[in-house]
Symmetry: C2
Subunit: 195 residues, 2 copies
Amino acid sequence: METVTTEEKIIRAADKLFTQKGYAATRTRDIAEEAGTNLALLNYYFGSKEKLFKYVVQGKLKMLLGAMGPALSDEHISLEDKISLITENYTNLLLENEELPIFILNELTVNRELFAKITQNTRQIAQPVLEKQLKERGVEISTTDLIINTLSMTLFPFIAKPLITSSGLVKEEEFVKFVTDRKKKIIEWIIKITI
Amino acid sequence: METVTTEEKIIRAADKLFTQKGYAATRTRDIAEEAGTNLALLNYYFGSKEKLFKYVVQGKLKMLLGAMGPALSDEHISLEDKISLITENYTNLLLENEELPIFILNELTVNRELFAKITQNTRQIAQPVLEKQLKERGVEISTTDLIINTLSMTLFPFIAKPLITSSGLVKEEEFVKFVTDRKKKIIEWIIKITI
DNA sequence: ATTTGATTTAATCATTTGTTTAAATTGAAA
DNA sequence: TTTCAATTTAAACAAATGATTAAATCAAAT
C-alpha cells in the first residue's frame, strides 16, 4: 500500500481545486475536506492559502514549460522533429490535464510578476537555436510566428474546449480523437506554411 | 454632456471588474465604488451579484460571437474573404478588449450550462454554407479544422498574451504591431493550408 | 404646495473565510 | 516507562462579504 503524507494529501487536494476553480473561488476549508484533513493543517504546513497556491502554480508552470524547453534548444533535433515533439508532448500532456492551460493563463493575467522569471529562461535558450535552423532553410517566417503558430494550433482546442464542444463543433466524446488526429495534421500544416 | 444613469454606471463598473478579475475575485463593494454609487444600489437594480454577472457575461458573449456569425453564413462571401473577415474582426475587437477571451473561456469552464444556448445558434447556420464552399473547391480539410485553425492563429496571441510578453517572445510595446501584422499573414497561411 | 413613487443613503445583519490558539494525541528517543 | 517534539484536533477570532432594512432625498404629477 502506498503511504501518502498529510502534506502530500493537502498538495493534491489544493492542486485539484485550484486548477478546477481558480484561486479566488477555492476555499481553504474545501481543500482540507478534499484532503481528508483538518483545516488548521493547511496553515501548519504551508503558512497560508497564498503560499500553498504558489507552490501548486510553480509545479503546473514547470509542467507546461517542461514540455517545450528541452526539445527546442537541442541543435541536433531537426525543425520538423521539433514541431513534432511540441505538438506531441503538449497534446499528450493536456489530454491528461485539460484544465491546465486555462488555469495558468487566467491566473497569469491577474498575477503577472509571479511568472516572469521561469518563463524567460526557456525562451532565451531556445530562440537562438531555432533562428539558426530557420536561417539555414532560407525561410521567410519569423521564429516568433513559427512558435506561436505551433502553440496556437496545438493548445487552442484545449483552451477553447468548452466553446468548441458546447457549440457542437466537436462532440464531447469525439474530442480525444479530434486532438489526437490533429497532431499529424498540425505538423503538415506548419511545414506547408513554413516552407 | 452625456448623462449616464446609475444603472448604466453599475453595469460599466461591473463589466470592467468582472472582466479584469473574474467573478469570484470581484467584490460587490468594489463595483459600487468603481461606479461611484452606493453598495445597496447594486442589489436594488440587479437583485444580486450573480444576476449582475450574468447580465455582463451575456453582453460579452454576444460581442465575441457577433464578430463571427454574420460573415460565416453568407453564401455570397468567398472563402478567402470569410477568413479575412474573421481575423480582421476578431483582431480589431480584441485589440479593444484584450481580456475578453480569457475571461469568457475561464468563466465558461466553471459555468458551462449558461452558454450552451447562445453558442449553438451560430454554428448551425454557418457550417452548412462553409461545407458547401469547401466542397466546391475540392479541398481535403474539414470545416472544423478550418474554423479552429483560423480562430487559433487569430485568438491565441491575445489569450496567451501574458505568457508571450512575459517570456519576451513579443515585447509589450510591440504587441499591437505584432497582431496587426499577423492579420495579413494568417490569411496567407490558411490559404496555403487549405488549398 | 402636496402627494406619490422612484431613487439614494447609512447602518446593520448573517454568513463565510482565512487564520490562530491552546489543548490533545502520537510516536520515537532516552 | 518517561520525555519531548512533531502532528493533529476542536474551537474561536477578526475581518471581509453579499445582502437587507428603514429612513432620507428627489423629481414629477396633481
